[in-house]
Symmetry: C2
Subunit: 357 residues, 2 copies
């Protein structure tokens, strides 16, 4: 909250309305599904509804809690407008719907309707969030480590004939038993020709005797998300399949090696993309190299072609190039990497040499 207030001062803002729930959680610790946080230079107040009265009082730090029966955001806007010295309140236009803004304005006194709410020019809280502090980095390392343990576990479970869905079920069950609050996104288990689907959800399809199997999954631990992908081979790969795997691995390692504070996200992406271009596989790499991760599975920065944002120490990003050959197979390899002053620290320790099962 201290860093936020300094940022408010620098931006010349006397008030801030925070409605995106991961931002609310980041700033005051509240994890319920209905909330708005109002921040001035002197005070902060968390608005929620009766379902969360007990939870809010247990969780919320650095803000007073106010329970109401109307919309928490409307209550927060009205509270901000009533604070002495607050002439304008910033809101995040990337997290506010057109209808919400109209409702908030309608709830203000007529003289404030046009001027009081002001769209922030850039993500305000999310830019704070993308640089993690030591406590957050420790949690994220722990979350990534839990992911690696799950990968170890699932390797023993995988065999031809098991439906993809059972692999996902086993992975998710074990995640829960190891303490995860849940999965950070829908588990991807894509085998055989389905590995050519970058987002292939687990289906009833049995694992083949021979072919690639892509596992892309993440867990949530104390609010923080992990994200990792490994592609393994069932049976014996042919030289072409092995070559495809090695090309993606080389691209992934090149991008990991490029990570350091000060480099642009576009340069990290290009490190991976240029390797695949040399192998004439650039067209099969149909997505970005990675993304920030933290309280949300997708956060800033975007690590894609041409992105000018520069990495800063304390950011945690994924590096996950992949290639997809429709009707044949796909390969993707993904690690979480913490940006440091002199390079990157890989948080995902599972082996990356091709595993044949």
């Amino acid at each position: 909250m201290g860093a936020l207030r300094r940022k408010l001062s620098r931006a010349g803002l006397s008030g801030l309305l925070v409605t995106h729930l991961p931002d609310v959680c980041y700033l005051c610790g509240f994890t319920g599904s209905s909330a708005a946080l109002a921040v001035t230079r002197r005070a902060a107040r968390l608005f929620t509804d009766g379902r969360y009265a007990i939870q809010a009082n247990e969780e919320v730090k650095a803000a007073r809690v106010q329970i109401g029966s109307s919309s928490p955001a409307v209550a927060a806007v009205q509270w901000l407008a009533a604070q002495p010295g607050v002439e304008t309140a910033g809101y995040d236009p990337t997290r506010t719907t057109v209808a919400e803004l109209a409702n908030w304005r309608a709830a203000l006194p007529a003289r404030l309707r046009r001027s009081f709410l002001s769209a922030l020019p850039a993500p305000f809280v999310e830019l704070l969030r993308c640089v993690k502090d030591q406590d957050e980095l420790a949690l994220m390392a722990e979350a990534a480590h839990l992911g690696c343990r799950l990968f170890d576990h699932i390797l023993k479970f995988i065999r031809p004939g098991i439906p993809e869905l059972e692999v996902a079920a086993e992975l998710e069950h074990r995640a829960r038993l190891l303490g995860a609050e849940g999965m950070s996104f829908e588990t991807i288990v894509a085998s055989g020709a389905r590995s050519a689907l970058p987002h292939g959800r687990a289906t009833e399809q049995p694992l083949p005797r021979r072919g690639f199997l892509t596992l892309d999954f993440g867990i949530i631990l104390k609010g923080y998300c992990s994200d990792m992908t490994r592609t393994v081979f069932l049976g014996k790969p042919k030289p072409g399949e092995r070559h495809a795997y090695q090309s993606v691995l080389e691209a992934q390692q090149a991008a990991v090696a490029a990570v350091t504070a000060g480099i642009s996200c576009g340069e990290v992406d290009e490190a991976a993309r240029s390797v695949l271009r040399r192998q004439r596989l650039a067209e099969a790499f149909t997505h970005s190299t990675g993304h920030g991760v933290g309280l949300e599975i997708h956060e800033l920065p975007r690590v894609g072609a041409g992105q000018a944002t520069r990495l800063a120490a304390g950011m945690v990003i994924t590096i996950e190039p992949g290639i997809y050959l429709p009707g044949r197979y796909g390969v993707r390899i993904e690690d979480m990497v913490t940006v440091t002053r002199n390079g990157g620290e890989v948080l995902t320790h599972s082996p990356k040499a091709l595993i044949e099962l």
Copy 2:
């Protein structure tokens, strides 16, 4: 898509932009995480990115697929603006951020920037979605039935000393093995004094020897969500606890009995609330009576105090009154109910008499 086009005509709209993903899925079947659908009176086109090229071609019905590298919504807006006879395109202001709208406008030719995009006065697709057709009702009955089977299963698993998290893990694992694509929301397992938290996530806390245990969970089956709550008792309830349970059960049954096409949502809510008011428990009932459910876990209509929306045959809603006594215990009972012309059909068949374990 036929019903949508008739609705477009009635609204005098020549174009529609659909960006809310459950709406996109409802209209054309696409289930990927990045998409926009553009609809005119003659044509429909689904825009997505390269990651979903194969999946879109497999899934999409009643629309042409266009793969691009820019934002799908921007591509959809530009396509709509280029269609002959399309003078204005409606968008949903409740699902469009202030920043998105600005981006879309900026991507239009200057002469169209002010007038081309028009905020729909009411949820357009979501109002279609809330009345389910026979195929959808069959899927929702199946999803609700799967939920009941999970409840049967978990009753055999529950015993004092097991952490709440293991109960959630077992429930979710079995859900996957029975064919669920995932859970429709974070599973609530709240025991003892934690049952007074309406949204008590499963924790490491072991189940007590004596006390209430609230289980609120849902699964996703072929895209459709289920939602049910049962509160059981570990050990022998005292008269006061039994009375609290009976009061909630009576309120729940009164609201279920009130469900029929033509009644207002507020009247259904009042049917439950008045029972609890008579028992001097109205203040402990801190939330609404229910909500629509379908492709999303929370859909229209809202079944809350004062809601004027009238139920229509084919809507599927939850009926879930509860009471919460901080520091002591809570009770909630929830069924899914299909609205019919002459009443309501309860889809959740699990018993509601107090179960003592």
